[in-house]
Amino acid sequence: MSRKEALSQFINQIHGRAVVVKLNSGVDYRGVLACLDGYMNIALDQTEEYQNGQLKNKYGDAFIRGNNVLYISTSKLVKK
């Protein structure tokens, strides 16, 4: 089942990376992904909360409940 491997590979290499987590409400969280579970519950470090592109809040650590998550986005690894 190669289609699933792509997902687990992504999940395995995502720890410690800078991510944007977008919620269904449209709120964005930018931070470093500490960990993730099967419900898409997420622990983020150095979290910044954005609403309409404006910074609203900062949290050192944040837990996000998975049901609110629309997507988790990473920028491509810069290959040097």
Binding site: L7, M40, S73
Partner: protein
């Protein structure tokens, strides 16, 4: 007795097999809250959570249409309503 093998006739394609055939190509996704996504499908799981690359996100906001480009996303399958293999032209 051993009827638990796929009961299909050969011509039909299971819905998820269609999605499987889309791996590696562009796909357009319609979400519950009239949001849309377009990207290259890299993989998916049984919940149709999807891994997408070179994604464009289309949103309707009070200020008008908003387009966001994203490198790679893990999309929650929960809010997906429809998938269009091959993607389509959003310029109209």
């Amino acid at each position: 007795m051993a009827q638990n093998v796929t009961p299909t006739n050969q011509s039909t394609l299971l819905p998820l097999e269609l999605v499987d055939k889309c791996i590696g190509s562009r796909i357009h996704i319609l979400m519950k809250n009239d949001k849309e996504m377009s990207g290259t499908l890299l993989g998916f799981d049984d919940f149709v959570n999807m891994l997408l690359e070179d994604v464009t996100e289309f949103e309707n906001t009070p200020e008008g249409k908003r387009i966001t480009k994203l490198d790679q996303i893990l999309l929650n399958g929960n809010n997906i309503t429809m998938l269009v293999p091959g993607g389509f032209d959003m310029s109209e």
